[in-house]
């Protein structure tokens, strides 16, 4: 039996704790996914990320402590810097955070006509800080995003209540054409709840090397159908991404039957809602 030198034990514990941290972060991810399966997938993804960051933060601190390093000062500095940043950047952060939630929950989108306080106009831009509207007298009005969390916004667009928009982030490993086609077939099963004059439409908003941001627009038949339709659509979108991920992996290992699909330098995920 080999005897391990005493000085190596802290290193071994350090490694073991990091290993356990990785395991716990993975389990946390799975647990959050399972718990939030029925809710907005984009919120689920955000919650997963937050959970993983917290597990790694705690794990790293515990692991570093095993090496005999005092982390009290480090934690204090991080906490003070964080507090200073929050105080200094309170307004922009508020707007930025509001934008994130407004994307998911605000009852309007680009092109809609809205009223907030005494300002009325057509939404022509939603950026990280503000929502820009074009007023009837042709003036540009910037409304800080945080206002939408504090005040009531009225969407004046006709039949705006019908429209349900769902932001989706599709990882690069998922083929957009296959995903869209599969989702159209799945959504056609919900047609009894949807306005048949408006088939589901996927619109690509942006692309990056890792993902494609889409928006799915469907129109419900009755106002009371909005929430259940949204929940069902979210669930189906999430399942389709899972299916596409596994299907995509299979297709790439077996070789797909369709040709002329451009090489996927970009990557497929889902988000939720709309007005």
């Amino acid at each position: 039996m080999v005897e391990i030198p005493t000085f190596l034990w802290p290193v071994i514990f350090f490694g073991v704790i990091l290993g356990l941290t990785w395991l716990f972060s993975y389990l946390a991810e799975l647990a959050i996914w399972g718990i939030m399966r029925q809710s907005n997938p984009q919120i689920t993804v955000a919650a997963q990320r937050l959970g993983v960051v917290i597990v790694w933060l705690v794990g790293t601190v515990l692991a570093v402590q095993e090496l005999g390093v005092s982390v009290d000062i480090l934690l204090l500095v991080i906490a003070l810097l964080g507090a200073a940043a929050i105080i200094a950047l309170r307004q922009p952060l508020e707007n930025f955070g509001a934008k994130y939630f407004a994307d998911l929950y605000a009852p309007f989108k680009l092109g809609d006509t809205i009223r907030l306080g005494d300002q009325t106009g057509r939404v022509i831009e939603i950026n990280a800080m503000s929502t820009v509207i074009l007023s009837e007298d042709d003036r540009l009005v910037g409304l800080p995003n945080s206002l939408f969390l504090r005040q009531s916004v009225v969407n004046l667009t006709p039949q705006a209540w019908k429209e349900v928009t769902v932001p989706i982030t599709l990882p690069g490993s998922v083929d957009l054409a296959t995903y869209e086609s599969d989702m159209l077939k799945v959504l056609s099963r919900l047609r009894v709840r949807l306005d048949r004059r408006y088939p589901p439409v996927f619109t690509v908003r942006s692309r990056s090397a890792q993902s494609t941001d889409l928006v799915l627009t469907v129109m419900v038949r009755r106002p009371e159908d909005r929430e259940p339709v949204l929940a069902e659509v979210n669930l189906r979108l999430t399942e389709a991404i899972e299916k596409a991920r596994s299907g995509g992996a299979r297709a790439s290992s077996e070789g797909g039957s369709d040709r002329a699909r451009p090489p996927s330098t970009e990557p497929a995920s889902v988000g939720r809602n709309g007005p």
Binding site: D182, S188, R197, P199, V204, R259
Partner: protein, 514 residues
Amino acid sequence: MGSYSERPWGELHSAQTRQEDDPSAAIERRWGPEFGARPLAAFDPLQGAFLGEGHHMGAVSVCINTQTPLLQFSSTEGGSRPVWEFETDLSKLHEGVDYRFSPGGVTRMVYPLARRLIAEGAWRDVHWVSLNPRAPETVSLPDGITLHNVALDRERLDGYGKAKEAIWTTVHGLAAPRIARDLFWTDDYGEYTYYNRTTAELIRHLDRTADFDIFYIHDFQQLPIGHMLGTLKPKVFRWHIPFDGRRIPAPWRPLLSTYLNSYDVIVVSAERYRASLKSFGHRGRVERLYPYVDPREYGEPTPSEEAAALEKFGISPEDVVALVVARMDPAKRQDRVIEALARLARGFPRLRLVLAGNGSFSGTRGGLGLSKADLWRRHLEATARSRNVADRVVFTGHVSQRELECLYRRCAFTILPSTREGFGLVVVESWLYRKPTVVSRQAGIADLIDDGENGILFDPDRPGGLERAMTRLLRDPGPLRERLGNAGFRTARRCSVDAAVRDETRLLVRVVEN
């Protein structure tokens, strides 16, 4: 209907290049000064007018997208590999053997335009994306055009084919309302979208390297592409089929509007379609450009070639030939011509009807594999038998370019009997041979016809209309036919590629320059 030639590509191309050394001379020799090509003028956006001859704008990089591919490659029987799987160098392949040009507007119209504009220096780096399940992934043509072929597996192809057929029949007023109402909620629509998205993704991918100046999308099937591309670059959509807003089902209107609005300009083939698009509520720009052919592609067959073709189709010198050039499709209504023939048979014992053409790309095995053409031909044959005129009707099937020229030369007149027809380029073809023509008022080309002056119009929905129109020509074989043929020949100028080069360039420059 036909193809360019039976020669290898290399030989064909060099022959065409020689012609293009002096296009005006070549075309005027054959067709007279009215058709002479003129140098491309440049457009001055500041002045809002063309500068005149000798000025050239910078060449634009163009992506063309059509459903129908320019080239269809031969499949092989008996399990051996088709030649295109291992040889994609067209100079080593033979037209008519290894590949052929697709029938219809893609070959007659889009290709000549692209070649001319490349030769004129107005277009460069032309990439052409099409659906082509049995073809190499890319093919480089000597003209400077690169073909990109999109392939789908059989299941997706079937679904796509059914959806696009439902759209086509609805727009043409031939589908039951239920099919239209439910289309967007079927699995077939999923496959239709799959094809369009796959095509859009390919075009987007090509754009990263080619950096296109403009996207030129043809065919109604491709309408979603503009929306799917998600680019702010200029996009032009060519709507080739009829547009009658009253025929668009209510459930389609919002989506159709979304898609139409994703283009900078919609090009239609007749004034009536432009008016209908505006009545439909489309607020974007709509231009009317008549479809066109390149007269240089239409030659004069030798007497021996003509004799051989007529013998092949069993046409005797005494026959009075009424010619219908159209694919085998219910919308083409060849059955009504057979009915008219049956009623006229006794009074005109030498009258024979020649139906030239087979299925479209959609109806061929190498294409979408829809059986529409076969079914329709069987129906027509049965109609001819039941009316006791089977011996008076000739079904030629696919004809080569040369055979088509022989038929145009030999016929007494041509007929376009369609109940709905986007335009009707076959009328222009027959005009090039100075043949009088009987044309349905529902065809887009009817806009160009002054009844009794350069053609005879008839209402396809009025019983006996076609019969009466045919009788006018049969009873007055001399001066009337000659007058109509000559006037038609002059009208054909408005539908020549030379006129189109000017109009298309003006349009594209306006779109690019805004």
